[in-house]
Amino acid sequence: MNQRDPQTDMSYRENRQRREGDYRLTDSYPIRNRSLVSNESGITIVEILISFVIIVIAVVGIYVGLLYAESQINRNYHDRVAALTASGECDWQYYYKTNYRDYDYFAAREITIREYPDQNRPPLTGTMTMEIIENTELIEGRRVRYETLRIQVTWEEPLAGQQVMVIQEDFFQ
């Protein structure tokens, strides 16, 4: 018997409740069906907090990445300044040795790695030293003497500690 009486057939009522009961606030339905807010498909405070946390983590990540990139670019710049200074000094010593048969000796020399636009901020300085190392090498059975000119620039890199740039060149006699 497929015919059903809408007044007595409970399954019909259950179907109807299932279809629309959760949204109805009439007296004919139980109180448990009034839990309107809990059944809304919205966002909860936990979801908002999670969104905040994700955004904060992303922002902090970007910020840390930028700081790292900036420190690397600054370090790269300081490396270039030191390399140019040291290679220039190496050129000069070669020139001096070639023309005056000796080196233009110095023990240590202060160099400016970077000057900042902010006048209150002290410039980043380093120290350039020079060293001559006597060496010998066996070439085709003959012992050949040569000198190694070693130019070293040392400075304190912010956030990275002491940095050393060395350029050396051999002078065969």
Binding site: T26, E40, G42, E70, V81, T85, W92
Partner: protein
Amino acid sequence: MISAMRSVKIRDRFHLFKNEKGITLTEVLAGIVVSTILIGLAALAIITFYDKYVELSYFADLQQGGYELIETVKYGYPFEELQDYVFIGAANADSLRLEELPGGWGTYSGIRCIPDRSALGHAYDFVRYYWRRYDRAVFVEARYGVRYYQEQIFPSRGDDRFEVTEFTITPLDVFDPNNIRAIRLDLKAEAVISDEKKKEISYSTIITRGR
């Protein structure tokens, strides 16, 4: 029976409209506030990131450009020669001479590098590197064989991000002004990021001839 069924249907329709699922004004306002804060935070992060990215990118390009300029002055500007390149710079020149070129905005200081002129057709070869105050840029002017070159080498033409503020060549250990053997090259340049923000570089090196 029919009347009872009809009244149930009408009541159901009435409840269907009345009990539509929706959101309240409070929820809308709360959503707007929360969304504004989240979008504001994200936008602030993106703007900060982009500004810093531009600043760092300018600074990195400025460093690279300045370094390449010094390398060019030292080791030479490339001239195409039979599918190869000839480099004429201060380090490989036969002689060096400082030059002051007159101009509308004062004199332009530069250095003239004379290469080996022994090859046939190259008796008048030269390369001159000089700074023009008005353009705030370093140029190369050269003659190689029958060809004549003039080019803005740093910053490249049309690149208004950078300005060369100093390009000083100081001769060292001078015996003959027409045959300088060593120079000190001081280069200062800046990247203009905004009206208030600039990044500067300052390079200094010694270049000797005949290495």
